[in-house]
Amino acid sequence: MSGQPTGRLRRLAETARAPVTIRVDGVPVTALAGDTVLVAVLAAGRVLRQADFGGGDRAGFCLMGACQDCWMWTAAGERLRACTTPVAAGMDLATQTPGEDTWPAHA
């Protein structure tokens, strides 16, 4: 659809906060200080992660740390729960589950 903004979540207020730059799938994304990772990713994009047992894209669900359907991976191989993790400058996040070759050693 033409004219549709790329972000799933719409910012309605509180947009004067300091910008924070992160990377999502290698692309720089500007978030705002105080965003959760979930909001930072979905205010700019449409998808957060892939379902673990097939079934496609996911974009979070409960936003209160209960459903665990917003886990993301960092480039360093760490896993975080996007809805309860505050965004921090320099975060490098992936919306895809790492493949076996990149599976973190400590998981």
């Binding site: 965003d35 669900f61 409960c62």
Partner: protein, 459 residues
């Protein structure tokens, strides 16, 4: 010798009022909170740096929210924010923060763990753009975001209308508010709801204003499917008159009232009872919140879904019970006043349960192909197979055979519907299929979690 070691889990209305009551008696409780700041979900505070006035964030409840925050901020206690309480065993609470685990022995434990949305699966509910109703509210309240440009609200409960109205007030073009409760249900509930005329008037006014704002409103609907191939494009539903309709929208907020968070009470060994009015299990407790398990108390929605005002009352009662059991006196007249207030709020909550009933038949009739378990993709058909061919008589057997409730949410979101599907397949009442047993950790911990250096008690 210091007073009893009291730990409160949760810093919503119940936890805050429990802490305040204990502090007034000279005790210094430890408060464990998963949130960044006290307030719980209902009075959740936006992160530092957000500037909307309280009236904009909490609407008509702004004064209550601010009062609760002020009460908490004035307390000299051991407050542990962003901390998960993940197990209870042998009078010891296990917590974790930032990947560091710690064991806290206690004499008394007050569980004020609150509630989460009560969900039933609808085809397509895992599509990006579908959120729980509570999640839709958190997006707005704590992050000043909407879940989409044109959200559809579906489900039932007072929160359905409240969140939709909050979205409209924030300037969002809400497409529809579709209530599964039948048209006559609200009317039948009036005698109980009249106990709080102000709140009832607010609820009714909200429905009028939503309609006036051009929002499609319907009662007695059956959601059939969330439309969309890769993300939400709308909702297909059947009206009370039996007509199929599709309403377009880029997001869906869905919830069917609330369910108590009871995992820690279960791990603490508390017995449970089946609440016929709400058709759900909850920890057994006396009117003070005292469970049959010595030293364990439950307060707020984590005991029974009565709402924020009742949570403030039951938090105070649980703290008074802790004090009474430790031989610390409290004002009996004030306790009696709290009982009276609680009884009134219980009747009002019964009215809400009548007005917005859990759609048991809809959940029981979930089509075979629909994914019930979001975590591991287990369908209603998979569940019926273990109920039939594999002869699972109750939920924990069904869990062992199908993995329903074994995923990362630990049955929080599939459990209510899974119980209905199993009960219907077995032809037994809901209570006969039991409830999913809780397992530690109650939420996933990072594999790298390490143990904190041991501290000497009373050091």
């Amino acid at each position: 010798m210091a007073g009893p070691r009291v730990i409160i889990i949760g810093a919503g209305p119940a936890g805050v009022r429990a802490a305040e009551t204990l502090v007034a008696a000279g005790l210094v409780p430890t408060v464990i909170d998963e949130g960044q700041r006290a307030g719980g979900q209902v009075y959740r505070r936006p992160p530092a740096g957000f500037t909307r006035p309280a009236a904009q964030v909490y609407g008509a409840d702004a004064a209550k929210a601010q009062a609760l925050h002020a009460r908490f901020d004035a307390l000299a206690i051991d407050y542990r924010p962003e901390t998960l309480a993940w197990a209870v065993r042998d009078q010891t609470l296990h917590i974790a923060r930032d990947g560091v685990a710690e064991a806290l022995p206690f004499d008394a434990l007050i569980l004020a763990t609150g509630a989460t949305d009560r969900l039933a699966p609808v085809a397509g509910w895992t599509l990006p753009g579908c959120y729980s109703l509570g999640g839709a509210q958190i997006a707005l309240k704590a992050q000043a975001c909407s879940i989409g440009a044109r959200p559809v609200f579906v489900g039932t409960g007072p929160l359905l209308y409240l969140v939709a109205w909050q979205y409209v007030k924030a300037g969002v073009a809400v497409a529809a508010v579709l209530d599964t409760a039948p048209r006559g249900a609200q009317l039948r509930a009036l005698p109980d709801l009249m106990l709080r005329p102000g709140l009832l008037a607010r609820g009714l006014a909200m429905q009028v204003r939503l309609r006036a704002a051009g929002v499609t409103m319907a009662q007695g609907v059956t959601p059939l499917a969330i439309a969309g191939a890769h993300e939400v494009t709308g909702l297909r539903y059947r009206t009370a008159a039996g007509v199929e309709r599709t309403i377009a929208g880029d997001a869906v907020a869905m919830g069917f009232h609330l369910r108590p968070e009871t995992q820690l009470a279960d791990l603490a060994g508390c017995p449970f009872v089946f609440d016929e009015a709400l058709q759900q299990w909850r920890p057994e407790a006396d009117r003070d919140g005292r469970t049959p398990r010595a030293g364990v108390y439950v307060a707020g929605d984590g005991l029974r879904i009565l709402g924020a005002d009742a949570a403030e009352v039951s938090g105070q009662l649980a703290a008074r019970a802790v004090m009474a059991d430790a031989g610390i006196a409290s004002n009996a007249r004030e306790t009696a006043r709290l009982y009276t207030r609680k009884a009134r709020l219980e009747r009002f909550a019964r009215g809400l349960a009548t007005a917005f009933p859990w759609p048991a038949q809809m959940a029981a009739a979930t089509p075979d192909a629909v994914m019930v378990c979001r975590c591991e993709g287990i369908t209603a058909g998979d569940l019926r197979d273990v109920a039939g061919d594999k002869n699972a008589p109750e939920l924990n057997r069904a869990k062992a055979l199908s993995r329903i409730g074994m995923g990362r949410c630990q049955g929080r979101f599939c459990g209510p519907a899974a119980a209905e599907i199993l009960a219907a397949a077995r032809g037994v009442p809901l209570r006969d299929v039991g409830r999913l047993r809780s397992a530690a950790p109650v939420k996933p911990l990072p594999m790298a979690t390490r143990t904190a250096p041991t501290t000497e008690p009373d050091a």
